[in-house]
């Protein structure tokens, strides 16, 4: 049966027995959770992302890095892709509680359409990544 409520996006949530700052530090370090890091350093806004996991290598560009502050949840967002597949958009929210921290992940596949198809988004993201690498 088709899971209509999920549509073209996948949502996952986890509650962790750790402070938001600590969770945020781990989230910004791809090697801690996204797989084997293929480049050094933390995720930076406008920077690139490269990891290898059981199902292959993923490359991407980082769109937003907003640390958790007081009442505001932390937010990470990036576009990434595997091989020739179209890029997908990932958003990670970090919501602090009194004792525990909730992490919510949404990965979305843009719908192909006349205006902005998935392939176009992938191309744009690749151009951005290449530009970034050249100017770095």
């Amino acid at each position: 049966m088709i899971q209509a409520e999920r549509g073209e996006r996948v949502r996952r949530e986890i509650e962790l027995d750790a402070a938001p700052d600590e969770v945020w530090r781990a989230l910004r370090t791809p090697g801690e959770w996204l797989g084997e890091a293929l480049q050094d350093g933390e995720l930076e806004e406008g920077g690139t992302l490269a990891v290898r996991d059981d199902d292959g290598e993923r490359h991407g560009v980082v769109e937003a890095v907003e640390p958790p502050e007081h009442e505001r949840p932390g937010r990470l967002a990036w576009w990434w892709w595997r091989g020739d597949e179209p890029a997908t958009h990932v958003e990670v929210l970090v919501v602090g509680g009194p004792a525990r921290t909730r992490v919510i992940v949404v990965e979305a596949r843009p719908a192909a359409g006349p205006v902005m198809g998935a392939r176009w988004v992938t191309r744009l993201a690749r151009v951005r990544a290449a530009t970034r690498l050249v100017s770095a």
Binding site: A4, G7, G113
Partner: protein, 117 residues
Amino acid sequence: MSTAGATGAGGAGGDRLGAVFGALSDPHRRHMVETMLRDGETTVPALTAGLPITRQAVAKHLGALGAAGLVVGERGPGREVRYRLVPGALAPAATWLRATEAAWDRRLHRLRGAVER
């Protein structure tokens, strides 16, 4: 047999899956797909009876589902066109959803290991 609407789902490969997800992004179209999953074949009047939209809107949505390769229409013995799902057309979308969910479960499990020590 005639396809329900325009052909051309935007090329092969990944865009094909994007077209499927695009077609499924509308709640009325999802309702129509679920009706066909349940009933097998259906018609524009039958679909219109179950939705708060016009016949014309139903026909347009069927066109979008046809363009994404999800639905085909076939003229029956009468003049009425009967619509049904293309076998296997939803499988790649289901596969992507399952694989992506499994990948995030794996990553979040690693995250737990990294911060709960």
